[in-house]
Structure formats: C-alpha cells, structure tokens
C-alpha cells in the first residue's frame, strides 16, 4: 500500500495537468476572499464585516478551490482508463480495491495540502485588509478557526469524493461533466429551493462543513460524516461494480 501511495504521488508530480488544476484551486482563494470582503454588507453581498457571520463568510474563501480538487480526484482514477495506464496499474496490483484505497489516501493527502495552503492564503489576503478597516480578527477564535478547519476538511474530502466518482464513472469526460453538473446545477438548485433535500446531498454536506449559513444545513460534524460517507460509498460502489469490469 505504501508503494502504491508513493507511486500515486509520483504520477501526480509527473504531469503538468495537475499543476494547472492545483494553481486554479489556489487562484480561486484570493479572488473569493477579495470579492467577499468587497461585497460584504452591500446589497447582494454577504453579511457585514462587523458581524461574526461576515467574518466567517470571508474565511470560507479557503474552500473555494474545492471543485478543482474534485476534478483532480476524478482524473486520478478515470484518467487511468482514458490513457490505458489502468492496464499496468492493475498488472502491478491485481487487487483493484487496493489501487482505489491508495488513490483515496493520496487524493486526501493532496486535498489536505492544497486546503492548508488555501487557508494560509485566505488569512494572508483577509487579515491585512480587514486590519485597514479596523476589524481585528482572532484566528484562534471559535468562529474563524472552525470555518478554516471545516474548509480544510471539505476540500480534503472533495478530493476523495472525486476518486469515488472516477471509479464509478470510468469515462473521464463523462465523470467530470456529470460531477460538475451535479455540484454546480442540481445541488445548487436543491440547496437553494428544496432545503430538506438539499442538506442531505453531497454539496449540502460540504456546505455544512464550511459552515457559512448555519441552520439551513446539517451541523458541521454531521456534514463531515455525510460527506465522507458519500466519498467512500462512491469508491466502494465503483470498486464493486465498475472497476471489476474487464479492462479491454
């Protein structure tokens, strides 16, 4: 298993695509932090910066790279079929469940690393700017720290959910299109208009983790458990039904 995880990390490091996605994930962070601060308290923007809600809203910028990380996870698994590298991967490890396990672990590592950098970036943009507005933020306070931790957890799990989706849908293009379509359209609609359903969807679970609009979603821990369960369920179903299919 250790070898397989090392190999997965090396796979990621040796293609340029992954750097592009990681860069995109990180680029979203300062952009959303800046727009959150700029729009705060204005009509159509988030809550005012003087409120706890307002600060939490700014801090949730740390999880804005989640979709790029989701795509990284999808490509890690579905890319193996797109480029036929699944053949040599499965020749080295005929136990396909172990391959998925290694990819889940690796994706979570990468997701967590990107999420940590995102948190630092968020603070680097937000703290000095807020200071100029004479708003002092204690990052170790219950509110800020929890949002950052929740964001790190959400991004980490997003990566693993991506691996799950990629193992369930072997066609890389289909996997990316379906996942993005679900998160950006279906999940958004459900979360916005059918709260009772929306809070149980993967996107609803992730949103609960970043904890920006409490009340509409599950409690944070509930979101974490549900989101992890989605990732593992996708991966397990993919391993059981899709990955066991013939590699022709």
């Amino acid at each position: 298993m250790k070898n397989l995880i090392h190999a997965e990390l090396l796979k990621l490091r040796t293609t340029r695509m992954i750097y592009g996605l990681a860069l995109a994930a990180l680029a979203f962070v300062p952009i959303s932090a800046i727009s959150a601060i700029a729009a705060a308290g204005k009509s159509g923007g988030g809550p005012a910066l003087s409120t706890t809600e307002g600060i939490r809203n700014v801090m949730s910028a740390s999880s804005s790279g989640a979709l790029s990380v989701l795509i990284i996870g999808i490509l890690m698994m579905a890319g193996e079929f797109r480029h036929n590298t699944a053949t040599s991967t499965f020749l080295i490890s005929p136990n396909r469940g172990r391959v998925v396990g290694a990819k889940l672990a690796t994706s979570a590592l990468v997701g967590a690393a990107l999420a940590l950098i995102s948190s630092v970036l968020t603070l680097a943009v937000a703290l000095p700017w807020l200071a100029t507005k004479h708003i002092h933020v204690d990052i170790f306070s219950h509110n800020v720290g929890l949002v950052l931790l929740g964001g790190i957890a959400a991004v980490t799990i997003y990566a693993a959910v991506g691996v799950g989706v990629g193992s369930l849908i072997r066609n890389q293009t289909a996997a990316v299109v379906i996942a993005l379509g679900w998160v950006l359209v279906v999940d958004n609609l459900l979360v916005s208009f059918v709260h009772e359903v929306g809070k149980w969807t993967p996107g609803g679970a992730a949103a609960a983790l970043t904890g920006t609009s409490s009340g509409r979603f599950l409690p944070m821990w509930g979101g974490a458990v549900l989101f992890v369960a989605y990732g593992l369920a996708f991966a397990a179903a993919g391993t059981r039904f899709t990955l066991r299919r013939d590699v022709v």
Binding site: N3, L4, H6, A7, L10, K11, T14, T15, R16, M17, G79, H83, N84, T85, T87, S88, T89, F90, L91, I92, S93, P94, N95, R244, D246, V247, V248
Partner: protein, 305 residues
C-alpha cells in the same frame, strides 16, 4: 517445464464467443508464437491470462498459479499489451519510475531498461511526441523493469520499422536464451516465423493447432510448378511414374510431392516441351492462411446448420 497453461478458456461478450474452449501450453525457455487472424481472440486470451479480463469459463496459470495469486506479479511476468498505454504528458523516464515505485523496484531500473530498448536518448521527452515504434519500445521497457521470467507480448511488431522488427527478433531470441519464456501474438506469421520455436494457431476463438514450427513445416509437402504446351501429355507421363499432378490451366500444372529433377526426367522420357519450371517451396504464410480460413469456413458451415 510448463510456464504458461491455458485450460479450457472461454470468454463470451454478449452473444459473441471471443474465445471458445481454448487450451494450450507454453514451455519454459521457449518462444511461442500465438497466431491467428484479427479477431481470433488472441488479445482476449492474453488479457484473461493476466487477470485483466474475467473468463466466462476455464482457467489459466503462469508458473502454476493464476496471475492474481502470484506474489510480486510484476517481477514474475512482463506484459506489453497495447502500444499506447501512457499518459501523453508524462516523460518516458517518469512513466517507468512510476511503475518502479508502485512495484517496489529501485527507480534506477528505469534508466537501465531505457538503455536496453534503445530509448536512452529520449527518456526526458514527453510520450505524446513518440512514434508508434518508440511507444512499442517503451511498452517493452516497462515490461522488462521487473526482470520477469515470462514475457507476454501482444502484436509487438505493430508500428516497428524493418530495423525495429529485426531488433525485436534478436532481443526475444536472446531473452529466451536465458531460460525465460516468451509468448508473442501476431496476425502475421512471417513477422515471427524466424523467431519462434512453437506456434499456437487460433481462429474464431478456437485452437487450430499447436506444434513446433519444424513440425508445422513438415506438414506441407513441396511440389513443382510447370508451364508446358503439352500439359495433358506431361500429366500422363508423371502418372506413369507414380507422381500426382494437378492441371491448373491448359498450359500449367503442379506436380505434387516431387522434385524438379523427377519432373525433368519424366518430361524428357515423354518428349514433352517445357517452357518454365519452378520448385515450390514451403510457404508458411500460405499454409497459415489455409489453416485459419478453413477453420473459419468450418465454423460458418456449423452455424448455418
């Protein structure tokens, strides 16, 4: 000693029977050619042998065990299955290093095998710039990483130039010479006829024959092709000497299982004029075509009944 054993292997894809109750063996230290026309089930058989495709029925083993049960399979068996199984944006050396790490081999093996297949100079290039021949070599390099005792190659000569094919033959000879086994598939017998010890011929998913190449050659008998304005008279003269001849046209006939000397003597004795005479050598390719197409016809008849 047997190194690969295929036992009553069958694979159905829906209504299509890709491999039909196929059995054969590969002896250790030999090169076995796995031959058949396109669509004969060669690739499906090799992928079942490697655990990539689940058989509908039957079993296959390498060194006595199913592939999935081998300890460190990458060090026991090397396989080249398709020419393009690389991430196009990854450098050749990195591709091999990834495999080394996954299989627990030292990454230095990557450079060693690049050298072995003649790609040492292009190891830093991304695979998308590689020609088909270079991809074949890179695939072979990957298969060699674990220094396996069994090498399985699916149509490895596809995309190789004549120099590359020559190199591949020499390489496989040398490899089997070290007591290791090679199973190599091809749809062109000529491509591997100079290299293999044994042949397994399949058509329509079924075994046509398994034998040594020498035995296969012994099954066809040479003849003599003759052009003469007196084909009828020559036929009679040959028959009187116990030589069977087949009239091909008014001016040509083929004397079976005989030599140019015997035909010449018979012709002189009968006063027959000969314009042209050629000894027919054993044509392995034609024989292969005969074998595989006759099986195809048989199965078509079987289906219509």
């Amino acid at each position: 000693m047997t190194s690969i054993q295929i036992h009553n292997l069958t694979k159905r894809f829906g209504d299509v029977v890709a491999v039909d109750n196929l059995s054969f063996e590969v002896a250790q230290g030999s090169i076995t050619g796995f031959l058949g026309p396109n669509g004969a089930g060669k690739t499906t058989t090799l992928r079942m042998l490697l655990g990539l495709i689940g058989p509908t029925a039957g079993s296959s083993t390498i060194a006595g065990k199913p592939y999935q049960e081998l300890v460190d399979p990458f060090r026991r068996v090397g396989a080249v299955l398709e020419a393009t199984s690389f991430h196009p944006g990854r450098r050749a050396r990195d591709h091999l290093r990834v495999l080394c790490v996954a299989a627990g081999l030292p990454v230095a093996r990557a450079d060693e095998v690049l050298d072995e297949v003649g790609l040492a100079d292009v190891g830093d290039r991304r695979v998308k710039g590689f020609s088909l021949g270079m991809r074949q070599r890179l695939g072979l390099a990957a298969a060699l990483l674990g220094e396996p005792e069994v090498l399985i190659l699916d149509e490895p000569a596809n995309g190789l130039d004549p120099e590359g094919v020559h190199w591949l033959r020499k390489f496989l000879r040398n490899y089997a010479g070290q007591g290791r086994s090679v199973l190599v598939s091809s749809h062109l017998l000529a491509e591997i006829a100079q290299t293999v010890d044994d042949v397994v011929i399949v058509a329509k998913g079924r075994l046509v024959t398994q034998s040594s190449l020498a035995d296969l050659a012994g099954r066809t008998k040479p003849g003599v092709w003759v052009r003469t304005p007196q084909s009828q008279e020559l036929g009679v003269a040959l028959a009187s000497k116990g030589i069977t001849a087949e009239l091909q046209s008014a001016e040509t006939l083929v004397a079976l299982e005989t030599t140019t000397e015997a035909v010449g003597i018979a012709a002189a004795g009968a006063g027959v004029v000969i314009f042209e005479m050629t000894a027919q050598h054993f044509d392995l390719e034609e024989f292969f075509l005969d074998l595989t197409t006759s099986t195809t016809n048989l199965s078509t008849e079987g289906a219509s009944q």
